[in-house]
């Protein structure tokens, strides 16, 4: 017993020495299973941010260390990871690189255990309502939906709009924001239907949609569904603009949509690939070099989640100090998604960029800066 105690003491001491001058950041994402592609992108983005921060001197002279686990898109696993990260790994702050369901489940644990958590790209409104330690980097779904309506009605001048909604948290909260704002701006919703996640066959509903003669289609989707929608729409001779969101924001969307059918698609998103900011260009270039595939919105959001965590840690390492640090952010220079500041409900305030696919690449189209549209507190 004595021997064991002595051994544990030495182990504990040496571990403390080893990690002196290190701030530990916890991270969870689906690295296996059906959501593994987004999970890996998120992990890559987070790792790149750690590299960027450590190479430029760390936070207050301390290096950052990312401790990550695979949640396999399983809520129970996300919860046990939360306990592990806090109680065994003693992380100062945690980042979710996962979807809404797992993030919501884990958020409750972090809040209860008193460790701040940042959701990188999970959009469900409830996540940040869990408590005062839970933040978000992605744009709140209702705000992004509103921005889509602004684009459709104010910028494109649409009067008749057809809406396709992916039937989950992501799709329904986007559509809710979109329809409310579109009606407010005077447009008419002429067709609206839901479809399940993972659907590949849209010809049937697009056939019906076509009869309603819309000026614009607002379709919430992830890149795989989106690729089918834009291709099958063009196949059926539907050439009106299709408006998407951050779910489309992956080079995979362009690759998977056949015959250049992704061209002319408009999306509201957080990542402006044509930005003149050096951090954005550094991020896009280094990501491509390091991981062999182009960066997407998920990786950019995870990159920024680490930057927000670092901004919080600059003010101190207690949960309250970290929280105050994040709330006092003023236009975060190291972010690639233009984080301006946090609102009191711990949502990001940022301009929304509209990107258009031209010749198989995302390009800058417009920036939406109307504060009434962008305000998450509205």
């Amino acid at each position: 017993m004595k021997k064991f105690l002595a051994f544990s003491l030495i182990l504990a001491l040496s571990l403390t020495l080893l990690f002196a001058g290190t701030y530990k950041i916890g991270f969870f994402a689906p690295l296996t299973g059906w959501a593994a592609a987004d999970g890996s992108s998120a992990l890559h983005g987070a790792e790149l941010a750690i590299q960027y921060i450590n190479d430029s001197g760390g936070v207050n002279g301390n290096k950052l260390k990312l401790i990550y686990y695979d949640d396999a898109m399983n809520t129970a696993q996300a919860v046990s990871i939360a306990y592990k990260l806090v109680q065994q790994d003693h992380v100062l702050i945690a980042i979710s690189g996962s979807y809404s369901s797992t993030t919501r489940a884990a958020a409750g644990i972090y809040q209860r255990l008193g460790v701040p958590m940042i959701s990188a790209y999970a959009v469900h409104p409830q996540i940040t309502k869990t408590g005062n330690l839970i933040f978000r980097v992605g744009t709140l779904a209702t705000v992004e939906g509103r921005a889509g309506a602004y684009l459709a009605v104010k910028i494109l001048g649409a009067k008749r709009i057809a809406v396709l909604t992916i039937d989950n948290d992501f799709g329904t909260s986007l559509t809710k924001g979109f329809i409310e704002e579109a009606k407010k701006l005077g447009a008419q919703i002429v067709y609206s239907t839901k479809y399940p996640l993972g659907e590949t066959e849209f010809r049937t509903i697009l056939n019906t949609l076509k009869q309603s003669k819309p000026d614009v289609i607002y379709a919430t989707a992830y890149y795989a569904e989106a690729a089918h929608i834009v291709f099958q729409a063009k196949q059926l001779g539907i050439y009106v603009p299709i408006i998407g969101q951050e779910g489309y924001d992956s080079p995979k969307f362009i690759q998977l949509s056949e015959g250049g059918s992704s061209n002319d698609t408009l999306i509201t998103t957080d990542l402006n690939r044509d930005s003149s900011k050096s951090i954005v260009q550094w991020f896009l270039k280094t990501y491509k070099e390091k991981y062999g595939i182009a960066a997407d919105m998920v990786s950019a959001s995870a990159f920024d989640a680490v930057q927000v965590a670092a901004a919080g840690l600059k003010s101190g390492t207690t949960p309250n100090k970290i929280r105050e640090g994040i709330l006092s952010i003023k236009s975060l220079k190291t972010s690639v998604t233009d984080i301006e500041h946090y609102t009191k409900s711990r949502e990001v305030f940022r301009p929304i960029t509209v990107q258009i696919v031209l010749a198989g690449k995302f390009h800058f189209f417009r920036e939406i800066t109307d504060p009434d549209v962008l305000n998450p507190e509205r």
Partner: protein, 288 residues
């Protein structure tokens, strides 16, 4: 017009269901094994075609080679895995099969990464369009390949010694062995043919959806069973008819009501109704 357009969609979707389910039904007919790993072979077929296509640049070579390699792997799976557990209770091969499937999926993820790969080909088939009605070259390709395969399969099963052997084994393998059928070879052949069909289906779906990815077999792994149950376990004719019927139910329900239920749920609902009222399926025989 909308009706005819949707009918084409039924034929295409049905063709894919049929290709997957016929192989599965063939294997079940002989071994009475619920071969979940069939969906793993389906994914393998798509990945193999994609890789071979990258090297050779020829879609037909890719499709045929992938079917042959997958066929052999299917036969090996019987020889080195199933054979040892067939004598156990029926739950044992089922668990083995689920394990195989999960292992295969993770293996693909480790080798190819978790991302979706585009798989686009250009084929010399014209785009058929008349007003609002159209058949795309890829849809035509799927219909033609399925047609050729079904006719070929009918011929093999009904007009050759191999077919007679397969039928004999499916009916009563001990009796078949007693009258001189090489049952081991016949079973391996069933696995070969079934797996080759799965690989063709995987490739066609990969091309049609323009995406190949490690978990593309997940839905297939259970949905193929819906078709097999509807058709009646072990009945090839049943699988063919059930495949098209299921596709028709899905497409026309969606056209009528939108996605009030996910398409997969529609399939399962139909399956449950069948299990209650017609447990042997359309053409199933009573289990002994």
């Amino acid at each position: 017009m909308e009706f005819w357009q949707n009918s084409i969609n039924v034929l295409v979707l049905g063709s894919i269901y049929v290709l997957i389910a016929v192989g599965l039904s063939m294997i079940y007919g002989i071994l009475r094994v619920l071969h979940i790993a069939h969906a793993g072979i389906y994914t393998l077929g798509a990945f193999l075609s994609l890789s071979i296509m990258e090297v050779t640049g020829n879609f037909w070579i890719a499709l045929i080679l992938s079917a042959i390699i997958s066929g052999f792997l299917g036969a090996l799976m019987y020889r080195y895995v199933y054979k040892f557990v067939l004598k156990e209770e029926r739950i044992v091969p089922l668990i083995v099969s689920v394990g195989l499937f999960i292992t295969m999926q993770d293996l693909y993820r480790i080798i190819y990464g978790p991302y979706k790969y585009p798989f686009s080909i250009s084929i010399p088939i014209p785009y058929i369009r008349a007003g609002n009605f159209y058949i795309s070259p890829l849809q035509m390709l799927i219909l033609i390949i399925t047609g050729i395969i079904l006719i070929g399969l009918y011929f093999v099963l009904n007009k050759t010694r191999i077919g007679v052997g397969l039928k004999a084994c499916a009916n009563d393998s001990q009796m078949a062995a007693a009258v001189g059928v090489n049952t081991k070879l016949t079973i391996a052949l069933a696995f070969f043919m079934g797996s080759a069909l799965a690989a063709v289906a995987g490739t066609l779906v990969g091309v049609y959806d323009n995406s190949v990815y490690p978990t593309m077999g997940s839905t297939v792994s259970y949905k193929a069973f819906v078709v097999v149950v509807l058709g009646g376990f072990g009945s090839l004719k049943g699988s063919v008819i059930a495949g098209f019927l299921l596709a028709a139910a899905e497409v026309f329900l969606v056209a009528w009501k939108g996605f009030f239920l996910p398409r997969d749920a529609i399939g399962f609902l139909v399956m449950i109704l069948f299990l209650i009222f017609l447990p042997n399926g359309l053409f199933g025989r009573k289990e002994r």
